[in-house]
């Protein structure tokens, strides 16, 4: 480790991290105070969502030629423009599009795309180039550079993604604030926490366990106490994804001082019989988002929330032999919010005439430009410090 990093790290570790009394000084914020307190919700469609059957180029002959079995017909879509239509299952998304609360950014990707789920997920979550291997996630680095506490980034899921793991701080993973809180109520563990000096902790796995324990203690009570205030009655789909979104809505409306929420919706790896599977997943996604946005609107929090949806890659333009699609590259990204500057279709349609050597879409927007925009223009922090590089920002917010 470089000396500079070491000093910075020790300063952080001794100053703020994990001092139990620091919680006492923290006041819970009321709803009015939270007005203008911006947060971002990030959703990964895991498995590689087929962007072309989500936002369909319904007037493009090449699309129909390359997908004789699984193309979306005109009747299966809801029209967005003269060239593009959205999958017919996405009714709620269509109405967000109509009300100017959805921006669709086409052709998002990165140079030398990697078609492995795991590698490409890592690339998206760490905001690395395709030949760069980073051990920290971009939200984790945001926590390191800009936040005091782990709960400022929460993943609503049973485990924590790389995206939320920083060098010094990690976000909190939870599915139920009560459960997390109760797990910290054991007298024995509390005594262990009280008797542990965070400055003496090592870099090995043992130190890692203790650090995680201390961080959990410093966040669990806050999250639980705060989250008690709101329990949404909205109509969320009765799926894991629906439950995660409801959980996030509860936390946002309860007034948690959390800036980043993260969750995922999985099953998009449609190598076989794609149509039924993807339709079901997209319907789930769209209905969930619809309920989520309604919830936030009712509580006046939508204007301060930005929802970003991505997938690790898109899928090949040509269908495969099993009515499905193989791994591809560039894809669309959805930005949803009450305060969008550029609404609707952000940029040009995918160019099906100019595919790469694998028959995949070429990217025109680097995904890190989107991250940079969210960091700088929404969360109002230095994007360069987190992304380690300057990217052209976009103007959707």
């Amino acid at each position: 480790m470089e000396r500079r990093d070491f000093i910075r790290k020790s300063a952080l570790a001794s100053g703020i991290l994990l001092v139990p009394s620091f919680l006492k000084g923290m006041e819970f914020v009321s709803l009015d105070q939270l007005s203008g307190y911006k947060n971002v919700v990030i959703i990964q469609l895991s498995g590689g969502n087929d962007g072309l059957n989500t936002i369909v180029p319904y007037t493009n002959d090449i699309y129909y030629k390359l997908r004789p079995k699984i193309s979306k017909k005109r009747a299966d879509i809801l029209q967005l423009s003269d060239e593009l239509g959205i999958n017919g299952k996405c009714v709620a998304l269509k109405s967000l599009f109509d009300s100017g609360e959805l921006t669709i950014i086409n052709n998002v990707g990165y140079p030398n795309p990697n078609r492995s789920h795991f590698r490409s997920t890592d690339i998206w979550q760490t905001a690395s180039s395709s030949d760069q291997y980073l051990k920290t996630g971009w939200i984790g680095r945001y926590l390191d550079a800009n936040c005091q506490s782990s709960f400022e980034a929460i993943e609503h899921d049973s485990s924590l993604s790389l995206a939320l793991k920083g060098e010094i701080k990690k976000g909190i993973a939870l599915t139920d604030p009560r459960q997390l809180f109760q797990s910290t109520r054991e007298h024995y563990f509390q005594s262990l926490v009280d008797g542990t000096n965070s400055e003496l902790l090592t870099e090995d796995n043992q130190g890692y366990l203790y650090k995680t324990m201390l961080e959990t203690y410093s966040s669990a009570e806050y999250i639980f106490e705060q989250a008690k205030t709101y329990d949404s009655k909205g109509q969320y789909p009765n799926t894991k994804f629906g439950k995660n979104l409801k959980g996030i809505a509860d936390l946002i409306v309860s007034g948690l001082k959390t800036r980043v929420y993260y969750t995922s919706h999985s099953g998009f790896d449609t190598h076989v019989n794609q149509l039924a599977t993807q339709d079901r997943l997209l319907e789930d996604y769209s209905e969930g988002i619809g309920a989520f946005v309604n919830d936030l609107k009712k509580n006046d929090r939508f204007k301060d929330t930005l929802i970003l949806t991505f997938s690790e890659f898109g899928r090949r333009v040509s269908e495969n032999g099993s009515s499905g699609t193989d791994h591809g590259s560039a894809n669309n990204v959805f930005v949803i919010g009450g305060n969008l500057k550029k609404k609707g279709l952000y940029n040009a349609c995918p160019d099906l005439q100019n595919l790469d050597d694998n028959g995949d879409l070429r990217f025109s927007v680097d995904f890190r430009s989107i991250y940079a925009t969210v960091l700088k223009d929404w969360l109002e922090v230095s994007d360069k410090d987190i992304l380690n590089q300057e990217f052209n920002r976009l103007d959707f917010i």
């Binding site: 990697n114 078609r115 492995s116 789920h117 795991f118 590698r119 782990s150 049973s158 485990s159 924590l160 990690k170 909190i172 993973a173 939870l174 599915t175 459960q179 997390l180 797990s183 910290t184 054991e186 007298h187 024995y188 563990f189 005594s191 262990l192 008797g195 542990t196 000096n197 003496l200 090995d204 796995n205 043992q206 890692y208 366990l209 203790y210 995680t212 324990m213 961080e215 959990t216 966040s219 669990a220 190598h271 076989v272 495969n320 032999g321 099993s322 499905g324 193989d326 791994h327 050597d357 694998n358």
Partner: protein
């Protein structure tokens, strides 16, 4: 070299699921090579998991909606039964090294399919080859209904190749991600695997009409390759030995090795034509393995964590599905890997929510959720009574749910010779200062209460 008790424990934790305390005296004084020989000897026999299942039931194609629903239910119950069967084998078997490697390959060749029959066959296939020839295992896995269906090779046909299997075989099973192959190699390999499928009974078949027998260029070689040729070409690459060896170093030694040690072990493996036993023996008898830095440096997988506890305390789970629920909570449900890459492992096992569950799990499994820890001395009597009442309440509630019963009598008997080193026996790494303080002020006197306190420490998560 004379091995310390701690080192013997280390060997049995890494090559198995911990050592029986009553065996420690017998093992002490034997050289490492002999202990490793004994481990192989007790794993020599291959005892497959056996379960009565309607063969082929899940492979039927045309089913009505009702039949499908029924089938789904049968599959789910079947997988739970299979899970419990394996957990029982893990908790009782002498062939610990074979089971350890079966678990390793359950993760390495991760499949997630619904059919209990195919899962059972696949799991036994992994067990059979677990200490044998990796090349043979790779071929058998590639031709198994489980893998063929999971990675869609049934749908991989001439004119419309499906790349799923070809990509993962290179990326996850052999060479490792981005290690000396291209997108073109994947596409060519996919062509070679076209037509590979299986029949209703689960036998491997090649549909010649669907097989692309044209010329392919793969990793620089050109020919009319079929799937078998591709697998052999992959095995010719030393990178395959390097990738597997790195994973096995992580499994047994658990830390990055300095200099060219990894390369050395990879050469051992490659020169032994992928004989797993040769490599494992080299790893376990190496100085790197017994180095103090290797002891207690790894985080247990949930299965290792659970199995270690179940074996030592002889826990009887009256309600077997509880075992499945605990696995699910700890993020490792057997037969349900998160995806084809298996479980991320290492530090990924631990985050805010899983850590607290894992710290709580020992007291839940061993004492219905109560750690009887109190600080020595000054608690007023009325408070003490109150606390005991609260604890009794908790225990009554948790017992109903868990129905897990450790055998404390047996434990005390087994621990007879090791009682004075209870901490050293239960915990592999050095205790933290905080943990030492906590145990020092404890007013617990019984072996049971002390043991529960110790296994509830973060250090028990390590081995």
């Amino acid at each position: 070299m004379e091995l310390s008790k701690k080192q013997i424990q280390h060997l049995y934790w890494r090559a198995g699921f911990g050592v029986d305390p009553s065996d420690l005296n017998k093992l002490e004084g034997k050289p490492l090579e002999v202990l490793v020989d004994e481990l192989f000897e007790s794993s020599k026999r291959f005892a497959p998991l056996e379960m009565k299942l309607a063969a082929g039931a899940s492979n039927q194609k045309k089913q009505s909606k009702n039949e499908k629903k029924k089938q789904a239910k049968i599959n789910k119950t079947g997988l739970h039964e299979l899970n419990v069967l394996w957990m029982t084998q893990l908790a009782t078997t002498e062939a610990v090294l074979r089971e350890k490697m079966t678990l390793f390959f359950h993760d390495h060749f991760a499949v997630r399919i619904k059919s209990p029959v195919d899962n059972l066959t696949f799991n036994n296939l992994l067990r059979e080859h677990a200490l044998g020839d990796f090349g043979k295992l790779l071929v058998a896995v590639s031709k198994s209904p489980a893998m063929l269906s999971f990675l869609n090779n049934k749908q991989n046909v001439k004119d419309h190749p499906n790349e799923n299997f070809a990509r993962e075989v290179l990326e996850l099973f052999t060479l490792g991600r981005d290690n000396g192959y291209t997108e073109k190699d994947i596409q060519e390999a996919a062509r070679a695997f076209t037509g590979w499928s299986y029949d209703e009974e689960g036998n491997f078949v090649i549909h010649q009409k669907k097989h692309d027998d044209g010329s392919k260029t793969f990793l620089g070689h050109t020919g009319n390759f079929d799937g078998d040729d591709i697998l052999q070409l992959i095995l010719k690459e030393k990178q395959t030995a390097i990738y597997l060896t790195e994973k096995l170093i992580d499994l047994f030694i658990g830390r990055e090795l300095p200099g060219n040690r990894a390369e050395y072990f990879a050469s051992v493996f490659f020169n032994a034509n992928y004989d797993l036993q040769t490599l494992i023996r080299a790893l376990l008898t190496s100085d790197d393995f017994m180095d103090a830095r290797s002891i207690g440096c790894k985080i247990k997988s949930p299965t290792e964590f659970l199995t270690g506890m179940t074996r030592l305390f002889e826990v009887d789970f009256k309600e077997k599905t509880t075992l499945v629920q605990i696995q699910r909570k700890l993020n490792q449900e057997l037969f349900f890997p998160p995806n084809v890459a298996g479980w991320p492992g290492g530090r990924a096992w631990i985050d805010s929510s899983t850590l607290m569950l894992r710290l709580k799990a020992p007291s839940v499994i061993l004492n219905f959720g109560v750690i009887e820890w109190d600080e020595k001395g000054d608690m007023p009597e009325d408070k003490l009574i109150q606390l005991e009442e609260k604890r009794d309440n908790t225990q009554a509630k948790v017992e109903k749910k868990m129905q897990a019963y450790p055998n404390w009598e047996a434990f005390e008997k087994k621990m007879k010779n090791e009682q004075s080193r209870l901490k050293e026996f239960l915990i592999q790494p050095e205790l933290s200062v905080g943990a030492q303080k906590l145990l020092a002020v404890s007013d617990s006197v019984s072996l049971k209460d002390q043991a529960i306190e110790i296994v509830s420490l973060p250090e028990y998560q390590l081995f």
